[in-house]
Symmetry: C2
Subunit: 242 residues, 2 copies
Amino acid sequence: MTQNIYDDPDFFHGYSQLGRSVHGLAGAAEWPALQAMLPPMHGVRALDLGCGYGWFCRWAAEQGVRSVLGLDVSHKMLERAKASTGQASVSYQHADLEQLNLPECSVELVYSSLTLHYLADLDRLFATVHKALVPGGHLVFSIEHPIYMASRQPGWIVTEQGRKTWPVDSYQLEGPRVTNWLADGVIKQHRTVGTLLNALIKAGFVLEHIEDWGPTDEQVAAVPALAEEKERPMLLLVSAHR
Amino acid sequence: MTQNIYDDPDFFHGYSQLGRSVHGLAGAAEWPALQAMLPPMHGVRALDLGCGYGWFCRWAAEQGVRSVLGLDVSHKMLERAKASTGQASVSYQHADLEQLNLPECSVELVYSSLTLHYLADLDRLFATVHKALVPGGHLVFSIEHPIYMASRQPGWIVTEQGRKTWPVDSYQLEGPRVTNWLADGVIKQHRTVGTLLNALIKAGFVLEHIEDWGPTDEQVAAVPALAEEKERPMLLLVSAHR
């Protein structure tokens, strides 16, 4: 059972204040890059693994998908998602992604935003997703970058000389990382870049595009705080097809 | 024209003292992992891009390759390689990998060890290599890891509390990195993990295995200094096929 931190009251409260929660996809700086990796959406059957408030599902419906099913482990998130969604092509369902079963060859697209780093067993999920996709179907996801997660003390180091750098240690030590982000004791699963990509290959996927996301100059000009995301890779974006 | 630092007297002298120069493949801790990524060698035609002293070429000859051609930009390295090699299946040739031309569908394996990070234009080389491989042929290489190369000041940070960490900054700033390793002014080319892997995909390769190399526990027990390579990813190993 994956930790359901999103139903922790402190976490949920903090999360609901984030730019991406208030402004949806427009509040997620990586969205333009991730969107560019999506296949044409019209008429496809899609799944959103870790749908949260349903921002992607509603956007997908606007693009004319045939159907989109949002899955999440958080009851509170699903409640909010359902209340915010009026489109008939969107549905939501409670699911633990580590126990997920899906009908074979049933969707053209599986999408996931910043969810997979919570899962200890990705091999099972990737195998399930691969079988659920039609041949040629796409998996497109974002995940916290292994370099962002690896350190025992993940936080900028600023030296007396004013040098600012991101620390990397424990990189080869795969497994849980406990952080205090929005709430205490949030558990994420660190794996190397190679382990993540090899899990996709082993499940039968062909890798199409890998991007250590960083902000554009225009994004930094608009939101100067984003500049630090040019210094370290915080997110990894991946697309692959069956 | 790629910088030919290996013909710099100071660099050449320093390089010739390294474990991997004295002991060959057995002196390179990543060799067992890289070797495990190679296809069966018997009867194949192989290329070694950046062959150095010819250790890999001689090993390949021992495995029964049909032929192996070692290419290098350094005249001194090639001289030493030729003097050390007696097998008829091995030949050497001077080449600037950024200007390389190869006959199409002429080899089953292209190998490269710790060379590609010196090249500014990988797209051209990957396209050339892809065409030179027979369908199903393999490209297997090691390269300095982007996380090892990114920082403006690549060196361990040790805090007053004794915490040791590897610095990451300037990650999105792709391009030359000048270091003083064995000689002053060694120029390497930093690119993100995504840029490297996407260049392979764009050239038509199918990614097979990606490994942020780290030492095994047995290696650390035998050579305790290797322990720090568990903390940061220093090398990236990649295999792909046409």
